[in-house]
Symmetry: C2
Subunit: 476 residues, 2 copies
């Protein structure tokens, strides 16, 4: 494939002049079925009865509807240039042109007659599971080599987590997650499985320290006192929304916490290959998979490895959110794999995506080039966005992984409450850009933003111009 000669050269097929500098300022366009409150729609409904479980919808439905409304107004250079540019979502358009060219070219070699059938497993193809095992073994040094049958795949981490938590939690049971955290968990682990997400606020300065688990100790007791049983703890490594890798000591603290309370430990490692250089973090730890740790040896304490399950997705590291391919890797718990097998066919990976990603993983030179190119562009784009915010008085929380960074805007905004933060989010939408405000990630104080920077540069710069408009309107 014809990769750009320099790793840091950006694709400029879409020139800055092609994008409207004075955008229309569209309001999110909701699906016509989701106008007004759900409870009002239910009260007005006189048709044949719907199930109680659907009528008693969890609060997460509001997030699901909002997400759909934003998708429906999303900026597209060709079809919707006046749409909202979404810096509040983890999409990576730094490699779009390269991947479109690559996938279009290789499909004829990648797609087999078997891909038009149900394939050779209820879960994704054995070809894909083998390629994922190789990916893990060749890049993340697992303590025990990953085997293809350690893996169950599904259409995105969203689906995989939905099924996985149902294996551990009965409705109402709790899973603990350090806050701030990815807001999608409140949909994907609640909407069907009806789990209780316990967001555990951890101060910034302890978020990447073993002491973060002290807050979990408090939370688990607090929920137990309310009669809620905690069954699992989730680790996002690298962390979302901070965009940072964990050191070994903190990872081990998670493992010991899970062991102490007999919990399942889900390690969400979606950004494993999206680690990049930040000159302000010369001593940043590399990414370490939980599967790479010899926990008993490192800690001198027992650890039941049946409780450890890794979730991985191609969406982030390979910029293919739309492909919907993710995996659970559980190396020591065949009963969990068997439970997932019972419903694997309900979340079967689509074969063209299965074929294309397997092909890429097996095409090692291209795989390595694309990963390196992605990391270089992430570093470049992150530096660009850090600089932009610093010039405006924000304090970026230093990051070295993922598609986004948190920026501390407390000295700029002086928000007195979350209501004011929400008002700013609406001003951004009026200006044609979406940014994640801290409260969406269960942040304890107002004034923080999560900003996605893994955006094709001309579009990123347009988004930042729109954000400037929103900031100016705040001063007026």
């Amino acid at each position: 494939m014809s990769l750009a000669s320099s790793l840091t050269t950006h694709v400029n097929s879409l020139a800055i002049s092609d994008v409207p500098l004075k955008p229309r300022t569209p309001a999110p366009k909701p699906n016509p079925v989701s106008v007004g409150a759900w409870s009002d729609a239910v009260d007005a409904y006189a048709g044949p009865r719907l199930s109680k479980r659907i009528i008693d919808v969890p609060d997460s439905h509001v997030t699901a509807e909002k997400l759909d409304a934003i998708f429906r107004t999303t900026y597209d250079g060709e079809s919707n240039p006046g749409g909202l540019i979404n810096l509040g979502i983890a999409e990576n358009s730094l490699l779009t042109q390269e991947y479109l060219e690559y996938y279009s070219r290789v499909l004829k070699d990648a797609l087999t007659p078997g891909d038009l059938t149900y394939g050779n497993q209820s879960s994704g193809s054995s070809r894909l599971h083998t390629a994922i095992a190789d990916l893990w073994n060749e890049n993340f040094s697992p303590l025990t080599p990953v085997k293809p049958d350690d893996i169950v795949t599904g259409p995105g981490a969203t689906s995989v987590l939905d099924q996985l938590v149902a294996v551990f939690l009965d409705p109402g049971d709790a899973i603990l997650i350090a806050a701030p955290h990815y807001n999608g968990f409140n949909v994907n682990m609640v909407a069907r499985s009806r789990s209780t997400i316990v967001s555990v606020p951890v101060p910034n300065e302890e978020a990447f320290s073993p002491t973060s688990l002290d807050y979990f100790e408090t939370a688990i007791k607090e929920y137990a006192a309310k009669g809620v049983t905690t069954r699992a703890v989730m680790l996002c490594s690298p962390q979302n929304p901070y965009g940072r890798t964990y050191d070994k000591e903190t990872l081990l603290a998670y493992a010991l916490f899970a062991e102490k309370h007999d919990l399942h430990l889900i390690s969400d490692e979606l950004y494993a290959l999206s680690v990049y250089d930040n000159p302000n973090m010369p001593d940043a730890p590399p990414f370490i998979s939980m599967l790479a740790l010899d926990i008993e040896k490192e800690t001198g304490k027992p650890f039941d490895s049946r409780r450890l399950h890794v979730v991985y997705s191609f969406s982030k590291d390979f910029g293919v959110n739309g492909f919907r391919v993710a995996a659970v890797i559980s190396q020591h718990n065949p009963l969990v794999l068997r439970a997932l097998l019972h419903t694997a066919f309900l979340m079967k990976v689509s074969s063209p995506a299965d074929a294309l990603l397997s092909y890429l993983l097996n095409d090692k030179p291209t795989f390595r080039k694309m990963v390196a190119l992605n990391q270089a562009r992430l570093a470049d784009s992150a530096a660009h966005v850090r600089d932009w915010f610093e010039k405006r008085g924000f304090k970026p929380f230093q990051s070295n992984a993922g598609h986004f960074m948190m920026v501390d805007g407390r000295d700029v905004f002086h928000f007195k409450n979350f209501e004011e933060e929400r008002a700013f989010a609406h001003k951004c939408i009026d200006a044609g850009v979406v940014v994640g405000v801290g409260q969406s990630y269960h942040y304890a104080q107002p004034g923080w933003l999560r900003v996605t920077f893994s955006v094709h540069r001309p579009v990123l710069d347009l988004a930042l111009q729109r954000l400037d408009e929103a900031l100016k309107s705040l001063k007026n």
Copy 2:
């Protein structure tokens, strides 16, 4: 595209000499995690606790595990020539070469930058929903034109039905289906939603008559007496496993039955475009979508159209089971669409499949040619298989739609019970071929087979040779 010049000319890229006539006779190769009984595995498990809902698995898990074992040993001309040829599953390999060539060629035009993102809706793309609406409006004469927002898509009818029944049924509630019926319903509508599938045995001679609903009247009362509430009725039109279209009178009888008992009516129309000529059925009704019927006008009785929901999938009519693209079309019930929207992101269609199928639907000349080619090959292949069974004393149940036919082997087998029928199924597996035996479809008497004929001819003939071996071994 370079379609074969004659519609009935079969692709012979795989010559008969390429396939092993003396197959190895492999036993199904189970996933290593699913060896032995689930209850034994649970008893032996000493790891961190799994949820009660997962431990108390429905009986359907046995079917799910068996399906996976069969997939793992499936015949593949290149990678597994000694594998099982599966005539017990609805896969269509009559157009494999044409579709592989087509999709490989058009991906570069079909796939857009937006396909690498989450896209422009929580459900499948607006491009796909628009193409499905057009498909319906241009081919199936809906009473009210289908709009893109009447549609929710998901990764296969399996996933779509799982979510749809959860909207209508609380755990334990019943859905009625005429038996024999597709055995996958017992997995996809039970495994997660925990619905009760009520298989209503209807004699052959009434299966396509309005009197079939009399059996439903009995069943609904019987289950009500047991304290089970029925919330929905399912119609498979064209019918699976009979492979036959319904006349208008029977469709209307389903509608009136649903109205009378205030049930949701799910019309599974997966084989809508797979209707073919059978010279023995000169008066076979054409396929009629439930959406095409003016039920109130036709019957002179009220009908609440909020209860009507159609399920469609591309798997069958387009021979792409692996793509995982299906749709619910609900034209008059925004609350149902809204409920599905809350979990649509958990079953998002994969973008390469979304892009390829949208492209095909919009490429009208190719679409029409492929549908016609498929129907011609189905007719040819069905005639071939009817002839084969008739020569051996079986009585094929005349069919005009779908990928399979039921054949009455009672005069050949003289099975005294289902145990003997099951023993024959195992003999078939020993010979390297899978056929569906009647009991898998909840057939009331032993001695019937469901045989898939939509198989590339050289492989089909090899499968029939293997079946002959199984029949001979029965006589010995």
